[in-house]
């Protein structure tokens, strides 16, 4: 016996959730390559432009058989890809505008045909195009016994959209696995791909074909908006978390899964449109990752920048004191801070230098300690070596190198062991 609560879930929610998951996965996986190739908007164009194909197939055959609808949509998706290329190349139109012209005209054609078609049929609905009809995927004869899942009749009870989506998802996974190497090279560098004997143009068309298939298969269940969201958002989010393509693809699959389930759950809970909620969830996940990603997040970047800033301030203090020590000059704490630009950061760096015992106070005068002296020497060494390098190798004139060296000294050690004086004749401290 299946409990009532689970039975309600099976009747109302199981098929929609599965449809959403498959749609999210198939689009989300392919999206990785679109985002990589800076062609995210091709997904946008295709998902708008399948409309006239769907309506046209229906108008011509007067049937809503899935095969025919699918063929119609796939044909118009491919026409979109070809038309965009033709207008870009023959018409020399800017890519964005070419895409905009093609998909808006095709979408308009679809709306136009839809208005005519719906005079005869109530099935085709313009709103459905945008947010699908997930909520109609009931399991009307949902089982009351667990062993029903093992019976043969279950195959016919599952709606055909779900089978289509499952097949598409598997096909996408196989495509990406088999052609991973080719897709990766063709996406990163079409020139290298050609040299290695990979037909980059063919891979482009194959990818677009799969995007079209995934878009068409998902279209009916989740609507065009979710197709666009799923083609772009999971991949874009994953891109902010990793630098490796394989990891990115796996992460994007997880995010797609989270988006589909989380979005559906939220939508049921709030009683709002599921496809819309999933797109919103995808956006919310992206925002969280964009802010909090450990490697590429806004917070992480701000933190790194602050760290670097503090390091620069400290090194500037030690460098200045080293220069003064070379000529037996002295300065006070406040005077040095004022010279280096009276900022909060410098003041803090000064406090740290004193606390870390790099600098000590002798009376009112600042003096480098043994370890402070070593640090200061290392920085001045890098600075003067950079100056030498810029003059000797990069053709700078000696009076123009200080500012550039001032920046480089904090980042890279040029490591030129045979130099002993800088272009101004000052000694380069030994290592």
């Amino acid at each position: 016996m299946i409990p009532d609560l689970i039975q309600t879930f099976l009747t109302l929610d199981l098929f929609p959730i599965l449809a959403a998951i498959f749609a999210a996965l198939s689009c989300g996986l392919l999206g990785n390559f679109l985002v990589l190739r800076k062609q995210s908007l091709m997904g946008d164009a295709i998902s708008h432009a399948v409309l006239p194909g769907l309506v046209g197939a229906f108008l011509i055959t007067q049937s809503r058989s899935p095969g025919i609808m699918f063929a119609g949509a796939a044909i118009s998706a491919l026409i979109t890809v070809v038309l965009v290329e033709v207008i870009k190349r023959l018409g020399k139109v800017e890519p964005g505008a070419a895409m905009g012209v093609v998909f808006s005209v095709l979408f308009a054609l679809g709306v136009f045909m839809l208005e005519n078609a719906s005079a005869r049929s109530v099935d085709l609905d313009a709103d459905c195009v945008l947010h699908g009809n997930l909520q109609t995927l009931f399991w009307t004869t949902s089982p009351t016994e667990w062993n029903h899942f093992l019976s043969a009749s279950i195959k016919d009870e599952v709606p055909r959209q779900l089978w289509t989506l499952l097949g598409t998802t598997l096909a996408v996974i196989i495509f990406i696995t088999v052609f991973f190497k080719e897709l990766r090279i063709a996406s990163f560098d079409a020139g290298i791909a050609t040299v290695q004997g990979i037909n980059a143009g063919f891979m482009h068309m194959a990818l677009m074909t799969f995007v079209a298939i995934a878009a068409v298969a998902s279209f009916e269940a989740v609507g065009s908006i979710l197709v666009i969201a799923m083609l772009i958002c999971p991949a874009a989010t994953a891109r902010l978390l990793t630098d490796r393509l394989i990891t990115q693809i796996l992460v994007s699959a997880v995010i797609a899964l989270l988006t589909a389930i989380g979005g559906y759950a939220l939508a049921s809970w709030m009683g709002v449109n599921a496809a819309g909620m999933m797109a919103s969830t995808a956006g919310a996940i992206l925002v969280v990752v964009m802010i909090g990603s450990p490697s590429h997040g806004i917070i992480a970047k701000a933190r790194n920048q602050r760290k670097l800033g503090n390091l620069v301030a400290l090194e500037d203090i030690l460098g200045s004191l080293y220069r003064l020590a070379e000529t037996d000059e002295h300065t006070t704490r406040d005077r040095l801070i004022a010279t280096l630009g009276f900022t909060n950061r410098t003041t803090k760096a000064m406090d740290r230098a004193l606390a870390d015992n790099l600098v000590k106070l002798v009376g009112t005068h600042l003096q480098l300690t043994q370890s402070g002296l070593a640090h200061g020497a290392a920085i001045i060494r890098k600075h003067r070596q950079w100056e030498g390098y810029l003059v000797d190798e990069a053709g700078f004139s000696p009076d123009h190198v200080h500012d550039t060296a001032e920046k480089l000294e904090h980042l890279i050690d040029p490591d030129l062991p045979n130099q002993h004086t800088d272009p101004h004749g000052k000694p380069i401290p030994p290592k």
């Binding site: 995210s40 023959l90 905009g100 808006s104 005209v105 308009a108 136009f112 908006i225 772009i232 995808a282």
Partner: protein, 426 residues
């Protein structure tokens, strides 16, 4: 067919703006909107912002639904057009701001940023819309019209607002034509002359927002972007000059708006937005194919003519070389059609099944041969190309040398004391 209007007179009446006050107002308003969209779209095209406009228009949906929800919850009518337009403008601008945020604070590129904003904002809009439908029984049903647009539901004052905004936006754009032009063509230069580029960009964006929100009711938020993208893209085929581009684009936009609104007023079940876009799309297709100089047809003809010219030159050159017993002469390789064409010009004779140059043909052949030698010499002595490698590029260039260039080449070679064998002018 119940789709057809009652009679021919009615068609004429509508097209001549005699079809009832409300219809006229809507047609006039849409035409003005089309003109304004054409003008402002020109700058969006040149600034490569076509798809940013797409994201903007999709991002208006949460604003429309949100404004409705807020207004009804405060006890006002949510159907007031200015209120919905305000909401639409706010989230539209927010959407563009998000694109900038994503671009500046992450490694994602513009295409991804646009796609993210477009789909996520629209998704939020759909969620809010479904809230409207469940919370306010019936009163929010009309909000759907903002997605696909519906001219039939427009009142005279709606049309008046739309037309006024169109006129105002066009005037602002024309007043700022010079500033817009500088920013579009050379941003760096604009910055260096002290122009506030961000301000000018913001004004451009503001105008796109104005057009988008004022066109929502008539055209709908998905297709309004087509009115901004297509007319300038079509106009681009006809001209290289900015003021002409703006003018032609405005014309195409106005025509599309006029035709779309009229057809939609005449026939039932013909949505104005879709018809407007289809008219504009047809004009684009015609422009792309048939525009003189920049059109595909003109381009193809030009290329074919050049190909024919080159083939003809090669025949004359080869014959000249054979008849003058020049070493390395190549046999002409030409179709019978081509030979007949050259014979018609009177440059060769084909008597006794052999080809021979006429006197005029000999002069032509010599000229081409000489150009060939000139360019060859130039490449060898000036461009450091090995003598065995010059032939291919010479074959391409010898046909397009102008008289001035030939004079320059002769002078350059004379200075170096290089003479050309078999090539001295007759």
């Amino acid at each position: 067919m119940n789709d057809l209007p009652i009679n021919f007179e009615e068609i004429l009446e509508t097209l001549a703006l005699q079809g009832g006050f409300n219809t006229n107002a809507v047609i006039l308003g849409t035409t003005l909107l089309g003109i304004a969209a054409g003008v402002i779209g020109s700058f969006a095209l040149l600034r490569k912002r076509s798809l940013t406009a797409d994201a903007l228009s999709h991002a208006t949906l949460p604003g429309i639904a949100g404004a409705f929800l807020i207004a009804t919850s405060m006890g006002y009518s949510g159907r007031s057009m200015p209120l919905l337009m305000l909401g639409a403008a706010i989230t539209g601008i927010l959407g563009v701001a998000c694109i900038h945020l994503i671009l500046h604070h992450s490694r994602l590129k513009e295409d991804a940023a646009i796609g993210i904003v477009l789909s996520v904002f629209f998704g939020i809009g759909i969620v809010l819309l479904s809230l409207v439908q469940t919370s306010s029984s019936g009163s929010g049903a009309g909000l759907n019209h903002y997605i696909y647009g519906q001219t039939a539901a427009m009142t005279r004052s709606d049309a008046a607002i739309m037309g006024t905004i169109g006129i105002v936006a066009s005037i602002i754009a024309l007043v700022m034509l010079k500033e817009f032009m500088v920013v579009c063509f050379n941003e760096t230069f604009a910055r260096s002359t002290g122009l506030p580029v961000w301000l000018i960009d913001s004004i451009m964006l503001g105008l796109v927002v104005l057009i988008t929100v004022s066109g929502l009711q008539a055209v709908g938020l998905i297709l309004i972007v087509a009115m901004i993208i297509i007319p300038p893209a079509a106009a681009r085929f006809w001209t290289d000059r900015l003021w002409k581009l703006v003018l032609i684009s405005a014309l195409i936009g106005g025509l599309s708006g006029y035709a779309g609104a009229s057809i939609s007023a005449l026939f039932p079940r013909k949505p104005a937005g879709a018809v407007i876009v289809l008219v504009a799309g047809s004009i684009f297709a015609i422009s792309m194919l048939f525009a003189p100089t920049r059109g595909v047809l003109a381009d193809t003809i030009r290329r074919l003519r050049l190909k024919l010219l080159i083939a003809r030159d090669h025949v004359l050159e080869s014959l000249y070389e054979i008849e003058s017993d020049i070493e390395g002469a190549r046999h002409p390789n030409a179709s019978i059609m081509l030979i007949k064409l050259i014979a018609m010009r009177g440059w060769i004779t084909t008597s006794n099944n052999t080809l021979a140059l006429t006197e005029a043909g000999r002069i032509q052949g010599q000229r081409i041969h000489r150009n060939h030698k000139l360019w060859e010499q130039y490449l060898v002595s000036y461009a450091d190309i090995a003598p065995t490698h010059v032939d291919w590029s010479v074959d391409q260039v010898e046909h397009v040398l102008t008289d001035e260039l030939i004079a320059e080449l002769e002078e350059a070679l004379r200075v170096r004391g290089i003479t050309i064998e078999n090539g001295d002018p007759a």
